[in-house]
Structure formats: structure tokens, C-alpha cells
Amino acid sequence: MVRHVRPSTLGLGLLVLAGLTLMAACLEGMRSGPEVNPAMARQVAAWGLTDLALFTEARYTRHPSQADRHGPFQDHPGALEHFPTGALLAPPAHLRVVTEP
């Protein structure tokens, strides 16, 4: 005899699946915490590294914290910025705040 499954069982099953997925993600996130690789931390401290090697295509994207204020245009006054990373960097702070007249 085939057992009839109540429709609510399907609905509750879906909710439980979603809840468990969410809980698993949150638990893993809480357990890990912000973790620092000791080898990288040693390199930063010993060599005085100031930036991450995330975007190595240009000077001002490799070391955004050390770059000139007008990094993308330093090669030539009329030079156009051509790296997408540069285009994705934040504009200077004074352009992002509304100044009082």
C-alpha cells in the first residue's frame, strides 16, 4: 500500500532544509572567526608590507595605500585610466562627502 504524504510534510521539509542550510552556514561562520595565517602575519610584520597582492597590474592598484593621490593619471596628464581595477577603486574621500556651501 502506498502511503500518502501530506502536502504540509513537503512544505515543512523545505522549511527545515532552508533552516538547516542557513544554520550550517552561520555555525561555520561563527566557529571560524576572523583568522590570520601566521606566516602571512609574520611577512607583514617583518618586511613592513603595507598592501595585499590582490591587484598586481599597476602600481596604484598593487599598493593603493601608498600610491600618489592621482595615481591613475601620473604617467601623463591626459592619460586615460585603462585598468578595470583602477576604475573600481573608490574615488577620493572629498568627492564622496557632501560639503557645506
Binding site: R6, P7, S8, L10, G11, L14, L15, L17, A18, G19, T21, L22, A24, A25, C26, E28, G29, M30, R31, S32, G33, P34, E35, V36, N37, A39, M40, A41, Q43, V44, A45, A46, W47, G48, L49, T50, D51, L52, A53, L54, F55, T56, E57, A58, R59, T61, R62, H63, P64, S65, Q66, D68, Q74, F83, P84, T85, L88, L89, A90, A93
Partner: protein, 391 residues
């Protein structure tokens, strides 16, 4: 009837009603999940990168001092160390040698640095490079990114063209550990003599200076004093570095979310249309329910179950998938946008994490509006006369 059993029957009816239009509801659930997945992926990725950068760069120099000439970064003469003199609170001042080398063979920029222990820098003859593990003249320690792209291993020779056109050969002493790619993928550590002959930095000059300050509360005051003594210098504080990364990733996340906004808006229109515009069939269904004795409150609870079931399932599954996508699969969908065009790309894993505020924001933005939007039209339909609704 026991309240729990009553809710169960309501859910029975809701799911059965959803299953009567499986294609429509399943596609809504899929698109909803996809939207949550994309938004959560963008938020998790940038948050994880921000935290990683903040945690790693806690050890960055307290003050980096650059010299400016014609508004651009220029080499720092060694006599600036003397001109700086003794500053109260500063425990150490050190000149650094670092720069960039563009390797035309692979079209990539290397970050070339001089690495030497304090004894070797002071010229202690008892401490040679080999004893400290630092590269000696003619030797180089390279990051995994360079080793991978150039196909180099310890013992190989890397030949580079100096600033004056002369070739320089470096024996690869070792390759930096693979799990440090995020800080060292493009690094090339060499001896100071080699640095000067390869890149043409004259004796008596440094790239910049780094200062250690005893009391963190005095860093700003020290920086102000430096700016007074050396007006052509630009001090960069550790907090400036941390702020730069905070804003870089905030900006990137914002940009990614702006790109996703089109898709999110399209979904909102779809969801709003689905949630607010009741079909004639649904209206008739509500009319029949009312006619057979359902109360308005019961109809609303039934629809609340429907909205909650779809939106909470989409939220939970979408967030879970985003977590796997970012922390276990390396975020393949976003890596291209987030990492740019560089030849030497570091491979790294992000540490799983959860930000309660971020989670709550995503929940409030995705689950609550949809669930509420399903209620309004139903309430309107449920409060009119069943006879007129059925007609």
C-alpha cells in the same frame, strides 16, 4: 482544534494550492533563491576580504614616510634620517628599498624588495646572508605567483634586464610558501646591492622610511611633528592603510550591488506583480473559502504561510549556496570582476564568517517585503462580499 494541528492543516492547504501551479511557483522560488544568492555572495565576499585585509594589515608599519617631489613620490635621501633626528616616542626609523619591475616576458609587474635582517643591514660581518636565510648577492626569493607563471623552482636561474640594459641573473634560493600568496604572490626579495644595480637606485637613497612608535596614541602627534620638520614628506599612518582597504572593498561591493541592481529590480517587479496582483482564479478561491465559512484572519494566515514558505526557503537556501560559493568554491562568479586584469593573481581562500547585522539586513530586504506584499491584496479580496468576488 489544537492550534498546532490547525496550522498544519492550513499548511496542507497552502502547499496543495502552490502545487496546483507548480511551474509558476517553482520558477518564482528559483529566481528568488538566485537573487538572494547573488546579493549574499557579493556581501559575503567583500566582507570577508575586508576582514582579511584588516586582520593582516594590523602588523603593517605604524608610519610610512614618503618624499614628494613635484607632487609625485620620489626617492628619500639617507640624510633625511638625520634631519628627522630623534623624535620623542619613536623607537625605530628604517629606510626601505622596494620598487617595481615590469617583466616583458610575461607582461607582469613584480614587487621587488630588499629583505635583510637587522644585523645584516647594520653591516655586521659575522652575520652573512646565508646564516639568516635572506637572499645574498645574485640570489632571489620569489613569491608563488612569479614561480608559477615563469615556471621556476629553487635552484633555477631567473634572468632580468636591468635599468641600464645589462642582464642580471638570479639564483632562486627559495619560493615563498603557497599559503602566503595573498601577501607575497608577486614579491621578489633580493640583496640590496642587486636592488640598486637592477633598478638604478643610487647609494644613499631609500624608497621610503618606516617608523615604529612606542605608544599608539602618539602616532598622529608624531606624524604632525614629521610634517613640520620635513615639509616635503608625506606620512602614511597604519590607520590610513586600513581605511584605504575598508573603502576599496566598500566601493567594490557597492559597484557589484549596483550591477546586480538591474536583476534585483526585475525580480522585485515580478515578485510584486505575483504578490499583489491576484488572478481571477485566486480571487474565486478566496471567495469560495469565505463562502464555506473561512474567516478573514484564516485566509490571511494561509497566505502568510504561502509568502513565508517561499521567501524563507529562498532566503535560507540562497544564503547557504552563497556561503558555499564564496568560502568553499572560491567565488568563481565574482573573481573576474573583483580581481582585475593582473597576470600574477594570488589564489587564496577566505575564512568563513557571519555578520549578524549583514544577515539581518539581507533578511529584512528579501523576506519581509515579499511576505507583506502577499498579504495586502488578499486582505482586500477577503474583506469583500464572497458573492461579488466569485462573480
Amino acid at each position: 482544534m489544537i492550534p498546532l494541528a490547525r496550522q498544519r492543516y492550513l499548511l496542507d492547504f497552502t502547499v496543495a494550492s502552490l502545487l496546483r501551479r507548480p511551474g509558476r511557483n517553482l520558477s518564482l522560488l528559483l529566481v528568488y533563491t538566485l537573487v538572494v544568492f547573488l546579493l549574499a555572495s557579493a556581501m559575503l565576499y567583500s566582507q570577508a576580504l575586508k576582514q582579511k585585509a584588516a586582520a593582516l594589515l594590523q602588523g603593517a608599519p605604524e608610519i610610512v614616510l614618503q618624499r614628494l617631489e613635484a607632487g609625485r613620490h620620489a626617492l628619500m635621501p639617507a640624510d633625511y634620517l638625520e634631519r628627522l633626528g630623534r623624535l620623542r616616542g619613536v623607537t625605530q626609523v628604517q629606510g626601505r628599498l622596494w620598487g617595481y619591475y615590469f617583466d616583458p616576458a610575461i607582461g607582469a609587474n613584480y614587487t621587488v624588495m630588499v629583505q635583510e635582517s637587522a644585523d645584516q643591514a647594520a653591516g655586521d660581518p659575522a652575520t652573512d646572508a646565508q646564516a639568516t636565510g635572506d637572499p645574498g648577492p645574485g640570489q632571489a626569493v620569489i613569491g608563488v605567483g612569479i614561480a608559477r607563471v615563469r615556471g621556476l623552482a629553487p635552484g633555477d636561474v631567473l634572468s632580468l634586464r636591468g635599468y641600464d640594459g645589462r642582464p642580471h641573473a638570479f639564483d632562486i634560493l627559495r619560493v615563498l610558501p603557497k599559503d602566503t600568496e595573498l601577501t607575497s604572490a608577486d614579491l621578489m626579495l633580493i640583496h640590496r646591492q642587486d636592488f640598486r644595480t637592477l633598478l638604478g637606485v643610487p647609494e644613499g637613497h631609500f624608497t621610503d622610511l618606516v617608523l615604529s612608535v612606542r605608544n599608539p596614541a602618539e602616532v598622529t602627534a608624531v606624524a604632525r611633528k614629521i610634517a613640520e620638520r620635513l615639509p616635503d614628506s608625506r606620512p602614511i599612518l597604519r590607520e590610513d592603510i586600513l581605511r584605504t582597504y575598508e573603502s576599496v572593498f566598500d566601493w567594490r561591493e557597492g559597484l557589484l550591488l549596483a550591477l546586480l541592481a538591474g536583476g534585483v529590480l526585475a525580480f522585485l517587479i515580478l515578485a510584486w506583480d505575483k504578490a499583489t496582483g491576484l488572478s481571477a482564479e485566486e480571487r474565486r478561491e478566496i471567495g469560495i473559502l469565505k463562502a464555506i465559512g473561512w474567516e478573514t484572519g484564516t485566509v490571511l494566515r494561509m497566505k502568510l504561510w504561502e509568502g513565508g514558505l517561499i521567501s524563507f526557503s529562498a532566503f535560507g537556501i540562497g544564503y547557504g549556496l552563497a556561503h558555499v560559493h564564496v568560502f568553499h568554491a572560491g567565488a568563481p562568479l565574482f573573481a573576474g570582476v573583483m580581481r582585475g586584469w593582473s597576470v600574477l593573481q594570488p589564489s587564496f581562500t577566505l575564512t568563513p564568517q557571519v555578520d549578524p547585522l549583514q544577515l539581518a539586513t539581507l533578511f529584512l530586504l528579501s523576506v519581509v517585503p515579499y511576505t507583506l506584499a502577499t498579504l495586502v491584496p488578499v486582505w482586500r479580496a477577503a474583506t469583500v462580499d464572497p458573492d461579488s468576488v466569485m462573480r
